[in-house]
Amino acid sequence: MSTAAPLSPVQATSATQTLRQMMRQRDALRAPFEATWKELSKRWSTDDLDAWAAAVLALANVNIGPTGLIAYWDVSRSDTAAGIAPLLEAADAATEICRNAGARAAALSLKSLPIARNAFASEPMLTRWWSALRGLSREAPEVIEPMALRMSTILAPGSIDAFENFIAAGLKLAAGNKAVRLDYFTLQHELTRRLVSREFGGVDFAETERHLKTFVTALLGRVPLLRSLPPADTAIPRRASIAGPLIRLPDVYRGFEGDAAWSLYRAAAAHAHAHLVLGSDRFIVGKLKPLQIVLVGLIEDARIETLAMRQLPGLRRLWAPYHTAKPAGIATAPALLARLSRTLFDPDYADDDGFVAKGRALFGQSSPRLEDPAISREIGMLLGNDLGQMRVQFNAKTYVVEPVYRDDNLGLWDFDEPPQANAEVLEMFVDAARIEQQESDDAPRQENQAPDSEAGKARSVAPDQRGTVLATYPEWDRRHGIERPEWTTVREVAAVRGDPKRITEALDRADVLRGRVAQLVRGLRVGRSVRLNRQHDGHDLDLDAVIDAGLALRTGQDPDPRVFRSSTSKHRDLATLLLIDTSQSTSDRLASGATVLDVERLAVAVLAEAMQALQDPFGLLAFASDGRDDVKLTTVKAFGESYGADSMARLDGLASGYSTRLGTALRHAGAVIAPATSFRKLVLVLTDGEPSDIDVDDPADLIEDARRAVMNLHARGIDSFGVVLGSAGITAASRIFGRGNTMLVHRVEDLPSRLSELYFRLARR
């Protein structure tokens, strides 16, 4: 709309006049404008109209174009009930979107406004909708257009939270990658579809995981390792799968929603866990044909389910709804297999097919030896032969285990030994082998996180990568006995996000310790009451004091009037900042194969969990240094935020590297903890040696500096305490923190328990 003349403020006596003047020159726009104007002037006062005209002028001034203007007029006319405020807001938002994302995006946003009006009943929600769009137009201008076109689908859930969540998830997922972003906002991405469908009662694995874990543990008394199984690329529906000790459940079960999905997840988890608890060693593949493999699995399924139902008869109710095979229809291989599954599961099911009947007879004969897994192989092979001779079609590639809750049974087979069978069999195992490989790769990965060996002391970093400068601090010059002002620079290094699951798993493995710490927490949380004897007032007589007073009265002495007893409970009011040393030396490996940092991470996770449970305010800060003007600090958990998956991810993402300039880190810790309002403030330092840095020759300089930093903190009412790993740093540490405020952990492996114990000791003081 290049013809829109720039407005001169001198001419513009009022926005209305200017706008009308402009419209007179625009043939295409004149008619719709006049119509709108006529209608609006019936509703509004002159002032309102003027404000509206100003809004239209603003739109015209950002070159929104005729489509956009007409769209705006349409929405202005259509909503007769609302006042002028939402319209002015819409114009304002459209102006900004137009500036950021272009005229078309702005026009389409205005056109989708009626959809939003329908979806959200109230004005504040519309305001949030606009501000979400504004924000998006700044961050990802190119997606506004495609998104506005699909607004009705996106808004189908009907809540503004869902919409904001949708945008946030998209931006996070893409992390700046434009292709992924576009994919997401055009609803092509798998996650989008899930997010949108989730709102309609879809249930996914993540949602059920905790429940399933507890449920299955209660059932069979062993804690399962549950993982999610991403959807397959093919059209074949996913089934649960067992790989080694892991139970992998599909991310979503298509076609199951709400309670039905929950029941299905329960059924699947119970079945898979029964395999692990009641099943046996894996079968050798040998020369079995695909059909035989499938049948051995099917019999094994029936065997472990029968065993499980002997213990827990109610499991039948859990599994029965999925056995829906009917004794009719074409006798294809999958149909016969489903019927065989049902006949072995359900004693009341009648099926006169010869094959199915034989299966039931064979299984029935073996019922005295049900505990013996060999029967699965025996019966499976016999039936496999039979079915093979019936010449029914069977395609191993497209075969899917039925009923839906059962797992694909690949976990039953031992494929370490190269199967001599044909290619079809091999193919069946490729996926399972890959999974197992992947999972075993997973374990050492955590330890390999330390950056490459070049990330040592002398690596130079480009200035722009060094992070935001947070503050500068003085440093003590030991030789000259002065404090050098602004000597060190602290930079915030954005945390690398790891996988919070790894932290949770490490915690799960350390469940004994975790239980002990949880008990300490409970003991502390109760807030033990302290009894005060011999008080002037109280809720109870202090009998001993009363008797003393009585004796005094009788012997003619002055009695002590303090004859009451009261109680008070002590509350802790303690804020803690945990300073974690991530210098290069923390990448050293221990005898167990884990690195020092791994142990530190676990120790911090255990303690953080306890502090969170106690609702004590705390912060987690990791530090390393690369010379005086680059002391790197990473906020793992800020004081204000709560400890959750986010902080765990950042904790997991910590990597070893660089040196230890402790004094500066302590000074900064003081600045971080100072605003906390708690009565006691504690800086807990976790380090594995004495301070050092690349630009300091004499470590004594840094020790002395750190000591001054500690004294400084003390003067401000902040306690500091050093936890030293390995005996190397103990002399330095006791010099820095004082002997009473230093704890030496000889065996690094003991750190998790010692650290928590220390905290509880300090917290009680």
């Binding site: 905790r210 429940h211 399933l212 874990k213 507890t214 449920f215 543990t217 209660a218 059932l219 069979l220 008394g221 804690v223 329960r266 119970a270 213990q311 827990l312 008869p313 109610g314 499991l315 109710r317 859990l318 469940d511 239980g515 008990q519 300490l520 409970r522 003991g523 502390l524 033990r528 009451s529 009894r531 009998l543 001993d544 009363v546 008797i547 009585g550 004796l551 009788r554 109680s567 114990e757 509880f760």
Partner: protein, 266 residues
């Protein structure tokens, strides 16, 4: 003062599932103090009652609590019109007259309180009453038994080493399924099939110990559920109100436990 009120006249039902009766009897013969360890509701108190009945001794039970002082156990001077009068505490009564003194949940008591039992539990077998200026030698029949739930164990509430090491210990745990089922049948009047189901439910909840629950359902809880069913309540409702609701407040754990319990129902 006579201890007749503390005598147990009819046999309290107790179903042994180990050698606990023999151990206790041997300990009593030597007048050695005994510590009963085990989770709540597994039969510790009932066992002591049963043993007191078997041995024909009166039983004085003291439930320890956080505010219990040494004077609450040993005794104190009370004021009466004619002056101060010494009153023996329950422990002193048992020591003087030869009863079995049972201190229930001893960890609950303050640690300074538990120290008064020390001279009674070694070779001295005396109870010094410092306020009364008296040393009470233990009656030949006196014996001390304490109970202790290791589940509560924490740095805040734990027995001192010097206390722990004075006692013989008998470990109590939930009885094996068949025995527990018999106990539930006997105590609640439920039939054997129902008792089996209740025991299976109990095991499900015990599987969650440390994984969402601090302690599993006790035998006592199962008996309560059995009684409710016998009184006409449907099994599911009875289990819900006697086991699921009391045992946890966490809605996730409740839902999972309920699903697992459902798997035990016929």
């Amino acid at each position: 003062m006579s201890l007749d009120a503390y005598r147990i006249t009819s046999e309290p039902y107790y179903q042994p599932h180990g050698e606990e009766i023999e151990i206790f009897r041997a300990a009593y013969d030597e007048r050695l103090p005994v510590m009963l360890k085990g989770p709540t509701g597994c039969g510790k108190t009932r066992f002591v009652e049963h043993m007191a009945w078997r041995l024909g001794r009166p039983l004085i039970t003291v439930a320890a609590h956080e505010d219990m002082t040494a004077a609450d156990l040993a005794g104190r001077y009370l004021l009466e019109p004619e002056g101060t009068v010494w009153h023996d505490g329950p422990l002193t009564q048992a020591v003087r007259q030869g009863a079995i003194c049972y201190l229930d949940e001893i960890v609950e008591a303050r640690q300074d309180t538990t120290v008064v039992i020390h001279p009674l539990t070694d070779a001295r077998r005396v109870l010094p009453l410092e306020k009364h200026n008296e040393i009470v030698p233990a009656h030949a029949d006196f014996q001390l038994t304490i109970s202790y739930n290791p589940g509560y164990q924490s740095a805040v509430k734990d027995l001192k080493e010097s206390t722990k090491q004075r006692f013989l210990a008998i470990d109590f745990s939930y009885p094996p399924p068949q025995i527990e089922s018999a106990i539930v049948t006997r105590e609640s009047g439920a039939d054997a099939a129902l008792a089996d189901i209740l025991v299976a439910i109990g095991q499900r909840s015990r599987n969650l110990q440390g994984h969402g629950l601090d302690e599993g359902a006790s035998t006592r809880m199962l008996i309560h559920a059995g009684r409710l069913v016998r009184g006409g309540l449907p099994l599911a409702t009875a289990v819900q109100s006697s086991i699921v609701l009391p045992i946890t407040d966490n809605p996730d754990v409740r839902a999972a436990l309920r699903a697992a319990i459902d798997a035990c129902m016929p």
